[in-house]
Amino acid sequence: MGKKLLAGPYLLWMVAFTVIPLALIVYYGFTGVGGGFTLANVAAIARPEHSKALVLSLALSMVSTVCCLVLAYPLAMVLRGRGIGKGSFIVFIFILPMWMNFLLRTMAWQTLLEKNGVINAFLGFFGLPKLQIMNTPAAIVLGMVYNFLPFMVLPIYNVLAKIDDDTINAAADLGANFFQTLLRVWFPLSLPGVISGITMVFVPSLTTFVISNLLGGSKILLIGNVIEQEFTKSGNWHMGSGLSMVLMVFIMASMLLLAKYDRGGEGTTF
């Protein structure tokens, strides 16, 4: 009885802020502007401007997820190697920027990357050619990697930290070199963390509209931008909800992947 009572506030929260809003999105997604059931809002994803945006979003978020993984794995191994005391200080330094507003940090990148920005002033000082990536997909990928990298590092670090040193030593005793240990021992054991990290980076990258607006000069339309525009500019909540539901399919697919590989819940970030 006591335990059930404790779950009460949580249940209320879930119903009020997850179940009801989701139901409303489903309702809006399957009704037209004049009311009445329709599949048009969901089917609208097939329109060239929408499907192009979705494909581009998928491509950019995959690229940024791979970049994050390549950057994060070695870092997580270094962190593990440092031992608890020093390692956690580095983790702290790493998380520190996250205390600042996400929007501000992305705007700072604008100032850095602009044509007359900080980086180009620096390059110009040494007579080096200017960096022209502002308002291109490359700037968006950079923004995604910068903002979401901690979400890749932390779950991988959490899993690596739990791997017993004896396991590694045993591999060395049995004659495995570093790369064999990495591929046969480290990586398979850290897979839950890797999968969790991939999901944590892929999902927000896929849905972002702020990064593409700020670093893409509104020239590059991602599926997040399309949905945002339907809600804030076109005022067509039905279309926006319909497209959100299509996007949810992709998010759920990656969640299912997570559930399959991470049964023990080891890869959770916090």
């Binding site: 999105i25 401007e49 849905t207 509104s218 339309l221 804030t232 500019k233």
Partner: protein, 409 residues
């Protein structure tokens, strides 16, 4: 309004939908707020000089205000609150304090960045604003959708300060002059950087924005009507066209221009032009004076010139309106009346530098400002210009879909 009774639940749904689509639902408004914070320091200098004369005349009107309040005891007593929804950076903030001091009304002030962003907020009614400052075509749309309340002009005696020319112009979106009181007006044109654009290439018409030599140097407006206005006017069509063929042509033109465009921006065009990030930008005439002052005070080695393109452009009016669901309509009318006072209109003009339709304020300006053709163009210069009109939901959808095609290309 009619179909959305449960406005609060709907607002929650919107928030979650935005969260699903991006995890940071406050992207737009957050940006506007930080921008306001960033530039307010720059405006403070210009503001200080106005404060001297402003406060002196403010006291005089305060006494006058008290007199009328006492004389008409039948009116509801002022006091309480007033929810104002205005464009970002669109008022001298001292004016808000002066209004609060004089009336005892507490002002809650929010800002928006585009008409399109403002409309669903008013329509959903989650927050009931008392006084809003949209543009012409959006006011028409709000009137047609019964979102506005008729004003009681007996509470707005200073309305006679508005130049009759703008009262007349307002009839294009508010046929009986029953809902709106003009606040600012202006045109949309081209701003160019004299050091980045060779003299013989100085733009004079919209078609110059398709010049290959400006690749990566052009800033376009990131709002559907403004962007299509440029292309439609260049093609010689009306900026209120709903002809699918004409709009398709305009769309193709915008797609052809896209490789030359550095970015589609709204308020950022100002800072980017001042910083020399781009050579040419499409901009509201009201920004010109502020930008030129800023360039001068920063001691930059270039100038920024404003041109009203030959093909004609959009002449616009932003006006105060009161939403139908306003809880403090009388306070809103007091606010509008306050804004119409010549000395207040002048103070706002000096701060925001958008042309004022207030003839009392205009008469107080220096002669070189009065004769500044970029700020106050005459009828000859405006002969090809048009006011935006709301063309109905089907046209809205057509424009939005074509704009998405431009953006996704």
């Amino acid at each position: 309004m009619k179909k959305r009774g449960m406005s609060e639940i709907v607002a929650v749904a919107a928030a979650v939908a935005l969260a699903v689509s991006g995890l940071v639902g406050c992207g737009g408004s957050g940006g506007a707020a930080t921008q306001a914070a960033g530039t307010s320091g720059a405006g403070a200098g210009a503001d200080a000089s106005a404060a001297g004369q402003g406060s002196a005349s403010g006291e005089g009107t305060a006494a006058a205000g008290a007199g009328t309040a006492a004389g008409e005891s039948a009116k509801p007593q002022p006091g309480g609150e007033l929810y104002v929804y205005n464009w970002g950076e669109y008022i001298d903030e001292d004016v808000i304090d002066m209004f609060e001091d004089e009336t005892g009304i507490q002002v809650i002030y929010d800002v928006f960045e585009t008409n399109e962003e403002m409309y669903p907020v008013i329509e959903a009614g989650g927050v009931s604003y008392d006084v809003v400052c949209p543009s012409d075509y959006m006011i028409q749309k709000m009137i047609e959708n019964n979102l506005l309340a008729k004003l009681d002009f007996s509470n707005i005696p200073s309305f006679d300060q508005i130049d009759p020319r703008f009262v007349e112009d307002s009839k294009s979106f508010d046929p009986d002059n029953a809902y709106s009181v003009p606040y600012t007006w202006g045109t949309v044109g081209i701003l160019y950087n004299t050091s980045l654009v060779p003299e013989d290439k100085a733009p004079t018409k919209w078609a110059d924005l398709w010049d290959e030599s400006f690749k990566g140097e052009i800033l376009m407006q990131d709002s559907v009507r403004d962007a299509f206005m440029v292309a439609l006017k260049m093609l010689g069509y009306s900026l209120n066209s709903t002809d699918e063929k004409e709009l398709e042509e305009a769309k193709d033109l915008l797609i052809a221009q896209k490789p030359l465009v550095q970015a589609y921006v709204i308020d950022q065009v100002r800072d980017k032009m001042i910083g020399g990030e781009a050579a040419i930008g499409v901009i509201y005439s009201g920004e010109m004076l502020y930008i030129q002052e800023e360039v001068e005070s920063l001691g930059l080695d270039y100038e920024l010139e404003y041109v009203l393109p030959e093909e004609g452009s959009n002449v616009w009016i932003d006006a105060w309106v009161v939403p139908a669901n306003a809880k403090n309509k009388y306070n809103a009318e007091l606010w509008i009346d306050f804004m119409c006072r010549p000395e207040i209109a002048l103070k706002n003009f000096e701060y925001i530098t958008y042309s004022t339709p207030n003839k009392g304020a205009f008469d107080m300006l220096d002669e070189d400002l009065q004769t500044n053709k970029a700020l106050f163009p005459d009828a000859e210069a405006l002969k090809n210009c048009e006011v935006f009109r709301y063309m109905g939901p089907e046209a809205d959808e057509l424009y939005n879909n074509l704009w998405k095609e431009v953006k996704s290309n």
